[in-house]
Every structure is written in C-alpha cells, then in structure tokens.
C-alpha cells in the first residue's frame, strides 16, 4: 500500500504520449481509470489492452490511472509495463508485434549521410520520423533522456523497434555510457536493431564489452542479424585512441565525433568555424579511413539556420567526412544535398568512368583521359561517385547512352 510508480508524460504540449500512475494495493482488485483525448474512438481499446497487460504481469490488486494524450497502443503498453516493473520485477516482456517490414538488415558500407536523433522517451517524434527519409534514425537512450526517465525509455525504445515503421532507415540506438549502456543492450538487441552508437568511446575495450554482451544476447535468442557499431569520439583521450578504436572490431562500420563534449573536454568553446576541433575531426577522418570505415561528423545544432548547415556540410565533406548527425528532420534534405556529388564532380567522374569502360572494351590495362594516365584509385572513386549519383537520382540510369552521343 502506498507505493506508487509513475511513468510517461502529460500536460500541455504533450502529444502521442500518456502518463501512467500505478499503485499496488492489497485488496479491491484492479481499479482502472482511463482519461483519454481520444476516448470516443479508443477508450474501450485502451481499457481492454491495459487489463490484458495487468493480467499478464499477474497484478491482482492495484489502482491504475492512464491519462492519455493520443498515445498509440505500443506507447501505452511501454508506459504501463515500465510502471509495473518499477514495483514488481519480472523477467516477462509485454511486446507489441514485430512488424514484418522491420526485419531488414543493413549493409556494412551503406550510405550514412544523415542520421536523425530521436529522444528515446518522446513518442511523438518517433512515429513520423521515417517519412523524412533519413539514412538512419537514432533512438537515443543517452543524453536526450532525463536521468529519472532512463528506465522507462528502454521500454519505449524497445516497443518502437518492434512496432514503428521507419521506412527503410537504418535502425540505430545510442546506448548509455558504462554499465547502464551494457544493460540497455538487453532491451534492444533482440528486436533487430541495426546499429549501436557507443557514446564517449575512449578505448577499444569498451567495444569489446558491448560486443561480448551482444554475443550473449544473440546466443540466448538465437539471432543472426548483424549489429553494427558506431563509436562516438567525444574526448581528447578518444581522439588520441581513434585508430585503435576504429580498427578493433569487425562490426565497427563508422567512427563519429561528438563536438559538444569534446570542446568541453578541451576547455574551449565550439565555434561555427570549428578551428578548435580541426585536429580532432582530422584525426577521426584519418583513423576511420585507415581502418576502412566511414568517418561521421557531429550535429549542427542551429535548426533554424539552413544556410549555416549547408556551409557546415560543405566544410565537413571537404575534410573527408561521409555523413553527419541531425537533430531536426528539415536538416536531412540539406545534408543529403550537400554530401551528394556536385555537378562538376559528376561530370569529371563520367569522363573517367567512360574512359575506363573504353579501355576495358579495347582490352587496355591503362586508363587514360586525353594524354593523362588515370590511376586505379581515381577510377574507383569515380565509380563510387557515379553509383552515388545514380542512387540519389542525380544521374539517369542510361547516362552512358546519352554520353556516348555527345
């Protein structure tokens, strides 16, 4: 009696979420109150599902209040389960159905131009995230979640991985630092997460610990889908260890830099020009390239300044980065547009690739453009540029036909 657990959110401005108050009692059965903005349409369904969940966890006597601002079933389920488990530890999980369309895997070298951060405890931002077509979505359990909400966010993120369609975006989760981060994995690895972002990575051992836990979970649940890792370098020590980190695990696909923490660690301030982080960014690019993985830049935090973002991406691309984080869906298009091959890059690549095919046709081992010999790595880069341009609709599939006619 008197022990109360509260989860979720309510109040002005809260949408697509609910708040659950759960009080265990010793008699009187289940007293369930549902107040919902969508009571006419979903009131009965909410009651029915709540009673099923309470029964599933063996709750016999409790006062339960659900104050709903239009949350979908999997959100209400996550909130209720989180509040029950605060008072009654249980190994059981009440899971929404895993959507068939959420079972995809991602390729190690896929495009990672944009990855959209979504606070792990804010369902309203998750539901439509995929329609903006970022390359990846990050359900963030770390900095974007208040310390006292970190437990309940795990259930929400788990349920989102099962039941929210992100329309082909790479399904990523940023786990917490340290021991909590390792525990986070239990809530997400079984639900086909494609990639784990590992914050504040300073030494390769951190990756080993994550991989060890992933291996255990995979074994227990008989899972085979790959889980990629993207360590985030956010400290001076991390920068110094960038290469060992980038090269220590097979499933590391990218190395990211987080500049807010890094500049704080240096004892300086982050500027738009970024002189203070030039060394760190170059280190990360260099380490990632040396390890054959993708270097990924930090987020640009002024969501209103699209021109500033554009300039930032252009600088970032020039330094050698392959992608950038974003914190607002409107940043995605700018990031894609600016990382995409520019018209002059495409033109040059077309010439080289065309010369390459000609050389092949004629059985020549050497590719030349005019009187100039083209090195194999240059050809390779040109081929990549063409592939990218094709993928991003910057170039017609049949470009060679029209090219030959010129």
């Amino acid at each position: 009696m008197g022990v109360i657990a509260k989860t979720g959110n309510k109040g002005k401005g809260v949408r697509s979420d609910c708040s659950v108050t759960f009080e265990l009692t010793d008699h009187g059965g289940i007293q369930l109150q549902v107040e919902s903005k969508v009571a006419v349409m979903y009131g009965d369904m909410i009651r029915k599902e709540a009673l099923e969940i309470l029964d599933f966890f063996g709750v016999k006597n409790a006062n339960v209040t659900i104050e709903d601002s239009g949350a979908i079933s999997l959100v209400i389920g996550a909130r209720l389960e989180a509040s029950i488990k605060k008072l009654i530890p249980s190994e059981k999980n009440w899971l929404p159905a895993m959507l068939e369309e959420n079972r995809y895997t991602t390729a190690k070298d896929r495009n990672r131009f944009s990855r959209l951060y979504l606070p792990g405890n804010s369902p309203s931002l998750m539901i439509n995230a995929g329609i903006h077509k970022p390359d990846g979505i990050i359900l963030d359990l770390e900095d974007a979640v208040a310390p006292d909400k970190k437990d309940e966010a795990r259930f929400l993120v788990r349920n989102a991985l099962c039941g929210i369609d992100f329309y082909g975006a790479e399904r990523m989760v940023r786990i917490n630092q340290g021991e909590r981060g390792i525990e986070d994995l239990n809530y997400i690895i079984p639900y086909n997460v494609n990639l784990i972002l590992l914050p504040k990575c300073e030494k390769p051992e951190q990756l080993q610990a994550v991989n060890e836990q992933i291996r255990k979970i995979h074994q227990k649940h008989k899972l085979i889908n790959p889980v990629w890792i993207m360590p985030i370098i956010e400290s001076s020590l991390g920068v110094i260890n960038a290469y060992p980190i980038a090269s220590s695990a097979e499933n590391t696909v990218a190395l990211a830099i987080g500049l807010e923490d890094y500049t704080a660690d240096l004892g300086t301030k982050r500027t738009i020009e970024g002189a203070e982080s030039f060394f760190a960014r170059s280190m990360v690019v260099n380490a990632a390239r040396a390890a054959g993985i993708q270097p990924i830049d930090s987020v640009f935090s002024d969501v209103g300044d699209m021109e500033g973002l554009r300039q930032n991406v252009i600088r970032s691309k020039a330094l050698g980065f392959d992608g950038m984080g974003c914190i607002h869906p409107r940043q995605i298009a700018v990031i894609h547009e600016s990382f995409a091959p520019a018209p002059d890059e495409i033109d040059r690549a077309k010439k080289i690739v065309f010369a390459f095919h000609n050389a092949q046709k004629q059985g020549l081992g050497v590719v030349s453009l005019g009187t100039k010999m083209i090195d194999p790595p240059v050809v390779k880069r040109a081929l990549n540029t063409i592939n990218l341009a094709l993928k991003m609709n910057k170039l017609a599939e049949n470009w060679r036909e029209s090219y030959e006619q010129i």
């Binding site: 349409m41 979908i72 869906p329």
Partner: protein
C-alpha cells in the same frame, strides 16, 4: 420529441430532415442537380423621401438604432465575421436584446468565433432561438449536446448568399460593423483602427435586409471612399468607441508552418501540382490561411521564379506571403475575400491589382456563373476524408461540431482540389471508412496528400495518367486508410442519439447531411 420529425435518405446516402426550423427543406440531389425556379427574393421598397436629405443617418446608440429598426421577438439578426476573433459588436446586439426582454431571435452570422461564446447564455435564456451560420468551439459543443432550441444550419459563404437570394432566409436587421463609414452609411474595411480589408461577407445583408445598421468607430465626413458598402442601403449609422480588437482581427497568427511533417505535405502538394502540369504561366490558385497552405505558396513561388512564370490570379484570404508574391510579380492579381493581416489590408487599399470580392462574385449559386470554377488549383483542409473522397470540415471524429464551412464548399468547384492532411492527428485517423459528416461530396475532391502517400480520386483518370511515373508515393485511398489504422488501431464510431441538432446545407440550399446529438459518455 424530435425537432425534425421526418427524415429521408439523400443522394449521398445520408439521413436528413425534410423540415428545418418549420420550413420545408430539399434533400441533396447531387452536384448541380437542384435548380429552383422563380424570382430572387427582394427587400422592401424604400423611398428616399423617408431619409434625411442631408444624408445624416447617425443615431445616438446601437440600442436606439435597434429599437428604431423595430427589433422584436422572432426576428433574424445578421452580422459579418470580418473581425474574426476581435469582434466587439455582435455580442452587444444580443446584450441589448436581452436587456429589452426580446426572445427567440435567429442569429445569422457569416461565421462565429471563440469571442462569441457569451451567446451560449442567450441561447440558454431564450433570447436567441437558434443560429444559422456557423457554430464554432463552445457554440458547436452547445449545439452538439442538443441544447439549442432550433436546428443549427451550416452554410458556406456562397450558400449564405444563395439562401438570402432565394428567400430561404429573410434578414430583418443587418448590423454591419465597419472600420470606416460616413454619416450616410457608406463604409469600407480598409481604413480605420479596426481595418479588416473587405466587407464582402456583409454585402448580401446590406442589399436584402429590411433594416441595415452600420456601426463604426471611425466616422468620416461624406464621402467614405472606397464605398464597399453603399449608404443607399443603410438606415442608421452608429458611432462607438471601439468596434473591434485590431490584434485579434488581423491576428498575424497565419505563419508558415515549422512542423517538419506539415512542410513535407506542402512540399509534396506543390510537387504534385508541378508534375501533374497544373502550374503553368498564367495559372491561378487558392490557398487557405493554414500554415501548410501558406508553405505551399512558398514552394509555388520557387517554381514560378525559376521558370519566370506568373500566376494570373490568386484567391485570398490574403496575407503577407501572398502580398509578397504580388509585389514580386509572381502573381498578377489577388481576388480577396478576406484579409488576414495588415500587409493584406495595406495591399488591398493601395494596390489596384489587389481587389476585394464578395460571396456574390466568387461563390453564389444563383449568379450567372461565378469564378470559383475558374481556379486551377485549390488547396484546402479537412478534419476527415473517407474512402470515397467525401470530406468533413465541421465535426471531429468524436462527433462534436466545432467548425463552420466557410468558403470551403464553394471552392470545391475549382479545377483541381487538393487536400493536404496528416494521415492521423495524434491517434485520430483522418482517413476513414465514412466521414462523421459529409460537407463535400467526393466527386469534387481530387487529391489527398498525406505524409505517407498521395491518393488521386479514381474519377480523375487524367491526373492518374499524368502521375504514372511520378517519384511521389502515389497510393490508393484504401491503402492510406489501412496504413492509418495499422498505426492507430481501428477507431470506434461516436455514439449519437436519434436527434438531429444541425444540418449542413450544400451550396444550392439542399440538405447534404445532418449533425446528431452526441450521447453522454
């Protein structure tokens, strides 16, 4: 006892009353099917000999004007809504009626706003019998709960003109709040502290009411130019300290949306128009005042600028964004029904290419044509759309009446009608098997743009053909509905009693649908 005893099924399969507030009503027969014969209603003959030769019709107060106009039980009193939520006049009329012990008035506003909530008191105490016009917010709730004595009647702006012209509604006293007027009664909305742009919604009232009272807080010596309302129709002029709250008249709340989901709707809508060939040099469009619609204008601007094209005309509601297009030369003319901000008012006053319109020129069913059908692209909103493309703008999915029709029904006659709507709002699916209330028949609604796909009305084979190879996600409306229900769950329907509380009229005056009393939870 039902307020409406006999119900029949109309051409869109909805059960509607055949008597509305004691008068026979024709059930909806189909678009363009109902053509009543006879003559236009006419106001009483007046003689100029009865009016002061010096042209001074000023009386000391609104109360005096109402008494002189013969205010008595059962009359129909009309007002316009150009002051939107900043109107200080309409409520005063009924304060006076209440004070005089007058009962059973019919209020005939061109629209109502949250500031008219005090009217619920007069509906309760019998000063007002019922409202024909729009019942927004609190008034809608009041109506939905079955508390209004008569049936509410919802009409479009054009339908209001039609109802006056064919005699369905006879206005006894029209009270026209005017930002500037002269003692003769000439008036306009472009000058004065309560400037609101045009006064077109009051035009029919001035022409057809038995008695017309102009109320102003900015009296100028004759002549008041431009005279959007002619003093020749006016009986009395009343001067007050303040007739409206400027910041609520031109609220400036019509800003571009910042919501990424809505921006996506705007972007896709504009892209659709472009790919379907609806945008060309000399095209025309109408976009509402919502954030999504405004943002579509921005995308249109980009396209026009890039190709050095112009829109021949755009329909207002105008605002700073449309005015900017006019001033940049991307739009040649603005034909404006209402003005949402001070840039719109200024432009209408100073720019001969920005003109005011009335429901007569733009929407009236009993005109020899009107220009709503000449507009190429019409962008509108909706609370719900069903799998037959029927749409609802007045009730919500919980059954409550909350909005008016405005010009929405009238603009459906545009050449391509596009509704950018989210697939669901929070958990409420917008695309349904059946809309709660039909306000527009599906045959007039061409395209639904949602954040998860675009559905083209199967009747528009031309658009389907043009969009065959589009990069946009074209889906069927059924697919969109299924997607919404997969995410939200299948919603239960609201529960109603068998009492009709209001009717939705079509533009021709026939009854399109009924609004039912909601059942207590």
């Amino acid at each position: 006892m039902n307020k409406s005893d006999k119900l029949v099924t109309n051409a869109v399969g909805r059960l509607v009353p055949t008597m509305v507030n004691g008068k026979p009503a024709v059930p909806f027969m189909g678009v363009g099917k109902y053509k009543p014969e006879g003559f236009r209603a006419a106001p009483k003959l007046a003689s100029c000999a009865d009016y002061p030769a010096d042209g001074n019709k000023v009386v000391s107060s609104l109360k005096e004007a109402l008494v002189k106009a013969g205010l008595r039980d059962g009359m129909t009193i009309s007002t316009h809504h150009h002051f939107r939520n900043g109107d200080l006049v309409a409520t005063q009329i009924f304060n006076i009626a209440h004070e005089l012990g007058i009962k059973d008035l019919m209020w005939f506003p061109s629209a109502s706003f949250p500031c008219h909530e005090p009217m619920t008191r007069y509906l309760e105490d019998g000063t007002i019998h019922h409202i024909e016009g729009s019942m927004n917010g609190a008034l809608g709730r009041f109506t939905s709960e079955g508390k209004m004595k008569g049936l509410g009647v919802l009409r479009s702006h054009g339908g209001r003109y039609q109802a006056v012209q064919d005699g369905e509604v006879h206005i006894d006293i029209a009270v026209i709040a005017a930002p500037t007027a002269d003692p003769f009664g000439d008036a306009n909305g472009v000058n004065g502290s309560a400037a609101c742009g045009p006064l077109g919604f009051a035009l029919a009232d001035s022409q057809y009411a038995d008695k017309v009272i102009v109320v102003t807080d900015n009296l100028v010596p004759f002549p008041c130019l431009p005279w959007q309302i002619n003093g020749n129709y006016v009986d009395f002029v009343v001067v007050m300290d303040k007739i409206g709250i400027p910041e609520k008249i031109v609220s400036g709340t019509t800003e571009l949306t910042k919501s990424p989901d809505r921006l996506l709707l705007a972007e896709w809508s504009a892209k659709f128009c472009d790919e379907a060939g609806l945008i060309y040099d000399g095209f025309s469009f109408q976009a509402g005042a919502g954030g999504t619609a405004l943002s579509i204008g921005i995308y249109f601007s980009e396209i026009l600028r890039e190709r050095k094209w112009k829109a021949r005309f755009a329909r207002g509601g105008s605002n700073k964004y449309l005015v900017k297009m006019l001033e940049e030369g991307l739009v040649e003319y603005i034909l404006d029904g209402q003005t949402f901000d001070l840039d719109g008012v200024r432009s209408m006053r100073d720019n001969p290419h920005h003109t005011w319109t009335s429901p007569f020129t733009s929407y009236n069913y009993h005109s020899k044509g009107n220009f709503s059908s000449m507009v190429d692209i019409v962008i509108l909103g909706a609370t719900e759309v069903d799998v037959n493309f029927n749409a609802n703008v007045v009730t919500h999915s919980d059954g409550y009446l909350l909005h008016g029709i405005g010009g929405w029904q009238n603009t459906l006659f545009g050449k391509c009608v596009i509704l950018p709507v989210p697939l669901f709002r929070d958990r409420m699916p917008v695309i349904r098997d059946e809309v709660t209330t039909i306000c527009g028949p599906g045959e007039l609604i061409d395209v639904i743009v949602t954040e998860r796909g675009i559905a083209i009305n199967p009747l528009r084979t031309d658009l389907i053909e043009k969009m065959k190879n589009s990069s946009l996600p074209i889906k069927t409306i059924g697919q969109l509905k299924d997607e919404a229900e997969k995410i939200c769950g299948v919603p239960a329907k609201p529960k109603f009693t068998d009492e009709v509380v209001a009717v939705v009229k079509w533009v021709d005056g026939t009854v399109l649908d009924s609004i039912w009393q909601v059942k207590d939870k």
